[in-house]
Structure formats: C-alpha cells, structure tokens
C-alpha cells in the first residue's frame, strides 16, 4: 500500500480539463519531484491532491494511515504574508491547529511540538522576530517548520526555492533532503529546477505534453528528460 495513489486522474478547474490519465504513487520515504513546463498543470495537481479542487476524473487514494488533511503543505508566498505582523513562533504554532480538534487554544503538547520544529530548523534565535522582516530563505524555513507541525508523514512543497539566491537554495535543498533521509519524511516537491530534481529525488513525475512517472534513473534514461533538458524546457 502506498501513502498516496493516484489512478487515471483528470485535473482541471471550472470544468476545464488541464491534464488527464495521470497515474503515480508515493510510498513512505519517497522523494518525488514533479517537474513540467509553466502551465502544464503543476499547481492544479497540488490543489487537487490537497483537496482544494475536486478531481475531474479518476481517484486519489490515501493509504498507510495517511489522512487527506495530514499533508504538510508549503504554499507559494502570497501578497498577504508580505506585510503580515506575526512572530515566527505564532506562524509555526498555527501548523498545530489541526491537532487541536474542537478546543479553541493550543495546549502544552502543541507548544512543545512547535518548539521542537523551531529547533529542528535552526530558528531558535529568530523565534520572537517578525515574519515579514525575515529573509526569503528564513521565511521558507519557518513555513517548513509549520508544515512539520501539521504532519511528520508527508510534505508537499510548491516551488520552495523560487526567488531565493543560489546559496540559500542549496541550504534549503539540503534541509529538505535531510528531513527525507534522517526523519523519513516523505517529500513531494514541485520544481522548475530539473538539475536539483535529478540530484535529490528518488522518483520523478514529469507532466506536460508528454507524461513520465518513474524512478530517477529511469527518468534520466528516458526521452522525456532529454527533450525537457535540451529542448527549451524553460531553463
């Protein structure tokens, strides 16, 4: 049984189909990179997996004890967040909300969990700082800590390195790889960065005019990767 199993999935919004016949599965400990051209439906896929959009066809099955609301999501930054007055601790703690059930406030357990994840991502010194005053890389670490509060099982990262400089990008990739290897967190990452995908991922899902799903080695050997890397794939 896989954590996540998508069969014959058709994607789109407002009745407009973007992609159909999509098959892929994610097992525990996998590091799946989803790559594809702009407009190929990467964001639509994310929203569908998260349950924010209904699938137009096919099915998404969750297994191995994973519930649909146990995906730690790291969204792309929004306008609202850019001038949002919130401390790092408040943001991380808000990841624990789904654990609260019907109680209105955070308990000791949630606070301890938030503290743990703040430490795990090396944010102790920034805990009381304002989120909007942090650098891009620091902000992504805060959101990563928040996602880890929501789940230890599966992280879904939507272009986590966009807008970061190369050094910070490298650091963030290392952190994500570390979580995947050391903590056995399953990772699904949407990315533009095909080199990093090939370097870190265990599996690759390529969507667009041609669809590919398989392990990294299979991908490197395939025609899809060659045409994407050489043929104006947006890099």
């Amino acid at each position: 049984m896989a954590l996540l199993d998508c069969r014959e999935l058709a994607l789109g919004y407002e009745g407009r189909e973007v992609l159909r016949g999509l098959n892929f599965r994610v097992s525990e400990g996998d590091y799946l990179c989803i790559v594809g051209e702009n407009g190929s439906g990467k964001s639509t896929l994310v929203k569908t997996v998260l349950g924010l959009l209904p699938p137009l066809g096919g099915e998404i099955a969750f297994g191995d004890g994973l519930r649909a609301d146990e995906i730690g999501y790291l969204p792309q930054q929004t306008d609202v967040q850019r001038d949002f007055p919130a401390s790092v601790r408040e943001v991380v703690l808000s990841g624990c909300l789904s654990r609260c059930g019907r109680t209105p406030f955070y308990g000791k357990e949630e606070k301890a969990l938030a503290g743990e994840n703040i430490k795990k991502l090396g944010l102790e010194a920034l805990e009381r700082r304002c989120y909007r005053e942090l650098s891009g890389g620091q902000q992504q670490r805060v959101l990563l800590a928040r996602a880890l509060c929501a789940t230890q099982k599966l992280l879904l990262l939507d272009e986590p390195v966009s807008g970061l400089d190369p050094k910070v990008t490298q650091e963030l990739y290392d952190i994500i790889a570390g979580l995947n290897r050391r903590e056995n967190v399953t990772v699904i990452m949407i990315s533009h960065d095909i080199d990093a995908a090939v370097q870190y991922a265990s599996h690759i899902l390529h969507i667009g005019s041609s669809v590919f799903f398989g392990t990294r080695d299979e991908y490197i050997a395939s025609d899809v990767s060659r045409s994407f890397v050489n043929g104006g794939g947006g890099l």
Partner: protein, 285 residues
C-alpha cells in the same frame, strides 16, 4: 481645567451620557479586533460596502416606521455580508465590482426611500445623522443599550474563542484548508461578525465613518508591533482610548461624536507612525 472636570462630572449624572460611554467603548473594542484580519485579508472594502448597505437598511426601517430598527438592519446587513462573500469566491463578477454595485446601489435606494417616505420635516438632518451619526449614540433607548452591549460582548467572546483559527485563515488560507481547517466556515464567520460590528458602529459614528473605526486602530498598531497578538491587543487598547477621548471631547466641545472619534484615531495613527520612524527605525539603523 477644574471647570472642565466639573462640567464633565455634571454631564456624567445624565444616564444617557453614561450609556453613550459604555456602549461607545464596547463598540470601539469589538470593531478594532477584527480590523487586523480585515486589513490583512484585503477585506477592508467589504466593511465599507456593508456600511452603505446598513444605510439602505436603515432607510427601509424608517419607511416601515419601526420603533426598533436595529434587528431589521442587522438582518439585512448580515445577509448582504454572506452574499458579498459568496460572489467574491465565485469570481464570475469580480469581487470588488460586486461590492461597489451593492454598496452604491443601497446608498442610492436608501436616500430615495428616505425622500419618498420621509415623515419628519428635517430630511437632510435625518440623512446627515444616519451617515455621520451625529447624535444617535446619545439617544439610544435602554433596549438598544442592552442589545449593543450583548452583541459587542458576543463579538469579543467569539473572537477570543476562534482567535487561533482566525489567525490561521488570515495568514495562509490554502495551508489552513489543506490541513483540514474549514476556511469557508471561518470566512463566513468573519463576514457575519463584520456585519454585526458595522450595525453596532453605525450608532457610534454613522455609516460613512465606520471603516475608519475598523481600520485605523489596526493600521496604527501595525506600524509599531510585530506579532499578531501584540497588534491585536494594541489595536483594541488604542481604539478604546480613542473612543473615550473622542466622546469626552465631543461632549465638552459640542462637536459631532462620530467625526471627533475618527479625528482622534487619525491623530493616534500619526503618533504611531512617528513612533515607528523614530524609535524602531533608530534601533534598526
């Protein structure tokens, strides 16, 4: 100076002045709480739109010659809040255009109705006091005072109970949704509470000035404070202080209550801006 105090104390003996102070403070408190969320969610214009709706509803209530107009106004405004939110989500008609339509429409219909069915001889006075709330805070009946107090306390309690969820939905709606928070429900809650606040605040500052009561304290607090909790607390405190000062000044100087409160809020905003430039800007440099 002592003359002023004596004057103030003599005014305090009138129950309507005490009522005005109590209700004013409560309304200021609850209107400031949601301000931060509304500003950050880019919902400030919904507040503005709803206040015009409340004006239209008030005109309908006047036309029907109701003695207690608040329940009707409340019902219509809440309904419109829900409608505006729904259209905003569907995005077929752009959200802001829909709001502009509803708000300008109800303003026009409201004035039209007031003209057609006016019973009093002083039409422009009526319109003016509905728009700028010149004296309505001082003419509240005891039932209205109770209604206002109960509603404001309800708003405060709801805000505290749902504080963490409101934070989460405001900061990052898609994350909240993805992790199982029912963002739609909380957006609806925010819209309904906003509608309630607007109807309450109409008594204090009139329908045209309500937005000021909602956004100024939040904007002032955001100049200086860095965490959601401190911004919320600061905006509540600054709003209450501004309302108190505004009501007292208006009683002593005989100025209209609503615009005095807003003027005090503007001064407060200026003070906070200066503070953020000198103290905090200096520290950072």
């Amino acid at each position: 100076m002592s003359g002023l105090f004596e004057k103030l104390i003599s005014y305090m003996q009138y129950p309507f002045v005490r009522y005005a102070l109590i209700v004013g403070v409560l309304i200021a408190l609850c209107s400031s709480l949601l301000g931060v969320t509304l500003v950050l969610k880019r919902f400030s214009f919904i507040g503005d739109g709803l206040s015009h709706v409340a004006f239209g509803a008030m005109a309908i209530a006047a036309m029907l010659k109701l003695t207690h107009e608040m329940p009707l106004v409340l019902a219509i405004t809440v309904l419109c809040a829900v409608l505006i939110l729904r259209t905003g989500q569907r995005a077929k008609i752009k959200g802001d255009a829909a709001i502009a339509m509803i708000s300008v429409g109800s303003l026009a219909i409201g004035y039209l109705l007031m003209n057609l069915f006016s019973t009093s001889g002083n039409l422009s006075g009526d319109v003016c006091s509905t728009l700028f709330g010149s004296t309505s805070i001082l003419t509240l009946t005891q039932t209205e005072v109770w209604l206002c107090s109960v509603l404001s306390l309800a708003v405060v309690v709801i805000f505290i109970l749902f504080y963490n969820r409101i934070f989460s939905v405001t900061f990052d709606e898609s994350f909240a949704r993805a992790t199982g928070t029912r963002a739609d429900v909380y957006n609806l809650l925010i819209a309904i509470v906003t509608a309630v606040i607007i109807v309450l605040a109409m008594n204090l500052v009139g329908s045209l000035l309500i937005s000021a009561l909602i956004i100024f304290p939040a904007l002032s607090a955001m100049r200086v404070f860095k965490s959601f909790l401190s911004v919320t607390i600061c905006s509540a405190i600054s709003s209450v202080i501004c309302a108190l000062l505004g009501i007292l000044i208006s009683i002593l100087a005989g100025t209209p209550v609503g615009s005095t409160i807003v003027a005090v809020n503007i001064v407060m905003f200026a003070l906070f801006s200066i503070l953020s430039h000198t103290v905090i800007g200096g520290k950072r440099a």
